[in-house]
Structures are given as structure tokens and as C-alpha cells.
Symmetry: none
Subunit: 196 residues, 4 copies
DNA sequence: GATGAATGAGTGTTCATTCAT
DNA sequence: CATGAATGAACACTCATTCAT
């Protein structure tokens, strides 16, 4: 049943199917046929909307990044306390948002990271994402610490967040958000304590 | 010309070729034909030594884990200072050993992690590895801290080490080992300082 | 915005795009999408005007034949010298008209010839064309030679013209019209000389 | 039933199947699956022996050229009369050999010619072939005529031979070899008569 | 009159695996 | 021990065609 103006609908429909597919069988086995079947459309439609499979994967990764970015921004905008500590906690919170620590999200991010090692287009996206976390953190630490300390703290906290996330993803158990937050908040406080 | 005792030689030859292949083209494109060509042997021989492709991948991951484990053990055995701090630093050092932060090693680990989400055999290996790092760290922190603190510190340090490693791997630049060590040592000291 | 009387315009627009497409990428790769893009119209419109792809190809071949036929007729009508020799030269000239020895024309004719071996509709057209050249030549030779000689001369000259054209097309260089004309004119004179 | 040393057997088997397929359905429809089915082998084997479809087509065209070249050489070697006229007739004969004027051969040559317009590898082969006919003819004409005349005669005869062959191929009827030979021999004699 | 969304069969190609030699 | 011939399913992608709008 062809219609006009289907583009945004189909695109998000296919991106959702891609996330689902990567969650279910992994990126290597998430074939176009599999994704199309999940989306309930024909194989050919994917080329119609995303040129080729890489186009679809790229769009999917971009979508994940947007969701993450929005989660962080929303939390920071809602802050009443403008202190660096509050902002840093909000950034950390955003990275451990329920949307990011679900099984599917973790599997998909991990798959994209591995893929990005050999796909320049994904690599570019992934570095933008990495850099965004670092510079967000660095900006806040800078308000409390000298530049060198701020940079080291930002690098450390970014690594800690990613590492907690990664180990959670690989653990095979439900992500223990409270535990992760406690460890990350502790790091924030230890670093900020260097200020005075 | 059949020879006797070829098994260990062939096996390590094929594991090396697998690492090389994953480094060059990624796990998705590292076909048996590609690996066999790198190793200079015929396609068929892989089933002979490793049942099938998964067998080869599993053996390769096991090999990586052994190298990592040996690096850590060697460093700890060579310590003159038996303090928890020295041991923790040795463990950290082992994880940032040159063999672990090279391009090929990082690409391969990352690929295995992503794969492990959908391959139980790899997942089992990977969890053993994760747990080993945590329990090594926890054992040392325990000598200086109460149990709860030791556990949190071990979880944090394990995550920090993995996170530093991960962000280094994804950065696309040569791994800055000095920087990573500085951040991790700092974390060790901050945690041990809680001992009073 | 629908218009009336678009049919002839659209048809010739699509035929031109087909010639261009066959010239650029060959008949095998000249997909409907490619042709439609060249013509600046939607895919679907082709079925509207030409039933299907074969209909478009057939119409395109018919168009080429018309151009060729007109070129020959025009030259013969313009003759002041009504001799067989003059007419034969005019027919030859028409077959080496600039419109026929251009890269696109040669590629397209060749493609149609090859296709005609397996498409009855094209085959029919192509035989009409072949026969027209032969009977034009035969009619003129007949004015100077006995029937058997006229037929042989017409067959020879038709073959020579097609052969010169074919070898020119395949040579990969610009068509050397002067050389082709010299060789064909020479054949005309050698045959007419048999008249005594 | 895998065997060793199958390469030459399989290669010629697949080339034969390709000729048969092009004859039956044309080059455009001669898919790998179709060819493989004709040969009674699996699809995959074609990549095994010819890298890809183009490799198979190229090998097939090379085969056709070899058969043609051998036919001509054989006839010339068997000549008792060493005159240019005899050699020229032998070359002509070779080009109208039964192997060249059969339906399959004509369809295949025509398909290759059309394809060569857009496939450099085939184009190269085709030009070698064209040039070989011309230079064979030119070499013989040169023994009886001044250079300029010899060149023109060779160009004319090559075109005439190709043209007779082409029109025969497109006629849809069995090739009339006697008629073609008569016309070509006539041309040979008319050109040689210019010698004085 | 014209669009472009949608299909589904078909393409060339790759691949892990098997097995006779 | 080791080869490489062979398979057949799976892959991403293309395409002519249909049809609601």
C-alpha cells in the first residue's frame, strides 16, 4: 500500500528493527533480510530509504547518539543546583539512563564500537560521541579545578563511566545502576576535593 | 609431507594468523580463507585442528587471555615491595602492557567482547577474564580496606582500567600509556587513602 | 501538474534518455531507474508511455531506424545527377552520416543487434532495416548490371558498409569517415565497371 | 566428488556451458546460475575457477579467438600454392569456417562485441582480434600491391568479411557460406587486379 | 498525467564446511 | 597430515513492475 510521505515513518521503523535485530542476534547476523522481516517490510525497501546496509547502520548509530545526548541535556537543563558537582552528576546520570543500560542498548553500542574499528563512517560518529562526553565533563571540572587537573579528572571520569557501563554490559546480569552511580559519584567527589 | 608433532606448531600459527586477520579487516571479514592465506596453509586444515571457525576463535581468545594473565603474574612475582599499593600498580601495569594496548590487541579484544554477547563459549571466557581482574584487585584492596570499601574500590578500578583501555582503543591514536597509568595510580591512591 | 498533449514530448524525451543511457553504461546496465533519472522523470512513467522496458527499447530502435532512413532519403532526393553511381554514393553517404557514426549511435546499434538475437520484436525491426539497405542498393545496381551481378554487388556493398561501420565502431577511435567512403566508393566503381 | 587436477577439465567445461548459455538466452540473461546448471555444477565453482563472472566471460572470448586463429593458421599452413591470392582466400575461408558461422558462434561473438563497448577487458581482446585479421590481410596484399593500396585493400576486405559475417548472423537464416565466399573472393581478385 | 513507495524475484559473490585424494 | 575441489545456503544489492495517491 504505497503512500506518500512515508519516509520518516519507514526510517524510524527500520532503525527500530535494526536495534531489535542487533539485540537478538548480534550485528554480524543482523542481515538485511532479518531486519526487514522484523520490520514487516520487504528487503528492497532498505536500499530505497538508506542506500545500503551501511547507511542503515550509520543512521541507527546516529539515532542512539541522539537519544544519549538528549538524555544528558534534559537532565542538565532540569537542574536547580548549578554547581559543577550537580552538573557532573547529571552527566553521569544521563549515561546510566535506563535507555542506555538496557540489554539491547548495550549490545548495540558494543557492536557499533567493534564495527567502528573497521568502518570509517561509524568511527567518525563514535569519536564525536566520545569527545562529547569528555568535553562535557572537562567543562564542568574546569569550573573547580586548574586546567591540568580538570583534564585528568575528565579523562578519568569518562573512562570510569564507560568502563562501568562496559563491565555491566559484559556481566550478563541486569545492570546495577545504583552501584555504578555510587562509584562514579565517589570519583567526582574525590576529584573535586582536590580543589581546596 | 606429513610430520609428527605438528599440532602445537600449526595451532599457534593459525591463532597468530587469526589475530592478524582480525586486526587487518575486522572479525566480520576475517574469513577462514583469509586466515588460511595469511597462515600460508589450505582452508581445510582449520577444521582439522579446530573443529570449525568458532573453535579457532575460541582458542584465539583463550590465547589472548593467557598472555594477559601471564603479564600480570610476571609483574607481581617480580615485586620487591609486597604492599597492596605495589601489587595494585602491578596489576594495572599488566593491563596496560604493550602487548595489550597495541592496535591489533585492542581491535581483537573489542571484537571478542562484541561477539561474546551472542556466543556463549566466548561469553564464558570473557567473564572469567573480567572476574579475574576484579578479584585480583579486590584481594589487594582487602588488605587495606574494609570489605565493602574494598569491593567498591575494586569495581571502580577495574572499570577505570577497562574504560581507559576502551577509550584508548577507540581514540584512533596511539595509546597514551603514561596518561592512563597516572589516572589509574591516582585512583589507587585515592581509594587507599580512605584507609585512614 | 497534468498537461494535455504531453505524449509525444514525453515519448521523445524518454527515447533520448534511453540513447544516452545505452551510450553511457551499455544496454545491460541501462535500467529504468537510470533512464528515468537521465530524463528527469519518475520511474513509473515509463510503463505509462511504453507498457514496459521492452516497449521503450523497441521504440528507441524504431527511432534510430527512422533517422537513418531519413538521412538516406534526403540525400537521394537532393541529387542532381540521377545516375546509379550517384544514387549508390548517396546511400553509402547516408549510412556514414555523422548521426550514425557517433559513439552513442554506434554503441546503441550494436547493443540492439546483439539483443535482437533473442528478442523477436527487435529482430523484426532489424531485418526490415537490413533488407532496406540491400534493396535500395540492389535497385540501383540493377539499372547498370544483370540481375545476378546486381544482387551480388548489392550484397557485397551492404556487407562492406556494415563491416566498415562495425570495425569503426569497435576500433575505439573516432570514425574515419573519409577512409570508409573511399573504400566503399571504390567498391561501387569496381562493381559498376563490370557493366562494360 | 572432489578430485585433484580438475582445473583444465572444469575450465573448458564451464566455457562450453557459457557458449551454450549465450546461444540459448543471450548474454544478458546468461546468469551464473544458468551457466552452472547447464554445466551441471554448483554456482560457487565459477568463482573458484574464474574469480568472477567477468573472468569467465573473458576466458570464453579468449577461447573463441583461439579457435578462430587456429582455423586460419591451419588453412594457411596447408596451402601448396604460396601466392598472395591463395593466402588471402585461406584467411577468408578461416573466417567463414563452420565453427564461426554456426548460430551459437555468431550469437556469442555479437554479444561479446556489444559488451566490449563497456568492458575494457573484452575490448582489449576484441581489438587484438580485429587487428589480427587486418594485419594478416595487409601482409599478403603487400606482396602484390603498393603500401597504400595494400592497406586500403586489407581494410576493405576485413570490413567485407566482418560485414558478410554480421549480415549473415542477423539474417536469421542459415549462413550461406558459398555466397559469402564468392563475394569475398571477388573482392580479393578485384583488388589484386590493381597490381597491373 | 505523474509520482514514488513497495514488492519480491533474481543477481553475482562469499563463505564455512565436507571429503576424496 | 594436508590439500583444494566442491557444495549450497546466505548475503547485500538491483531491478522491472505495480499501484494508491
Amino acid at each position: 500500500m504505497p503512500k506518500v510521505g512515508m519516509q520518516p515513518i519507514r526510517r524510524s521503523q527500520l532503525i527500530s528493527a535494526t536495534l531489535e535485530a542487533v539485540d537478538q542476534v548480534g550485528m554480524g547476523e543482523a542481515s538485511i533480510a532479518y531486519i526487514a522481516r522484523l520490520a514487516g517490510v520487504s528487503n528492497g525497501i532498505i536500499s530505497h530509504y538508506f542506500r545500503d546496509k551501511n547507511g542503515l547502520l550509520e543512521a541507527t548509530m546516529r539515532h542512539l547518539m541522539q537519544v544519549l545526548g538528549q538524555g544528558v541535556r534534559r537532565r542538565r537543563a532540569a537542574l536547580k543546583d548549578p554547581s559543577p558537582r550537580a552538573h557532573l552528576r547529571a552527566i553521569v546520570d544521563g549515561n546510566f539512563d535506563a535507555s542506555q543500560v538496557s540489554g539491547p542498548a548495550m549490545k548495540t553500542w558494543l557492536a557499533f564500537w567493534a564495527s567502528s574499528m573497521h568502518h570509517p563512517a561509524l568511527q567518525r560518529l563514535q569519536r564525536i560521541n566520545d569527545h562529547r562526553l569528555y568535553s562535557n565533563l572537562c567543562g564542568e571540572f574546569r569550573r573547580a579545578l586548574p586546567l591540568a587537573d580538570a583534564r585528568a579528572a575528565a579523562r578519568g571520569l569518562a573512562a570510569l563511566v564507560d568502563g562501568l557501563w562496559l563491565r555491566g554490559a559484559l556481566s550478563g546480569q541486569a545492570f546495577d545502576t545504583q552501584q555504578a552511580l555510587r562509584i562514579a559519584y565517589d570519583y567526582v567527589d574525590l576529584q573535586l576535593a582536590k580543589a581546596g
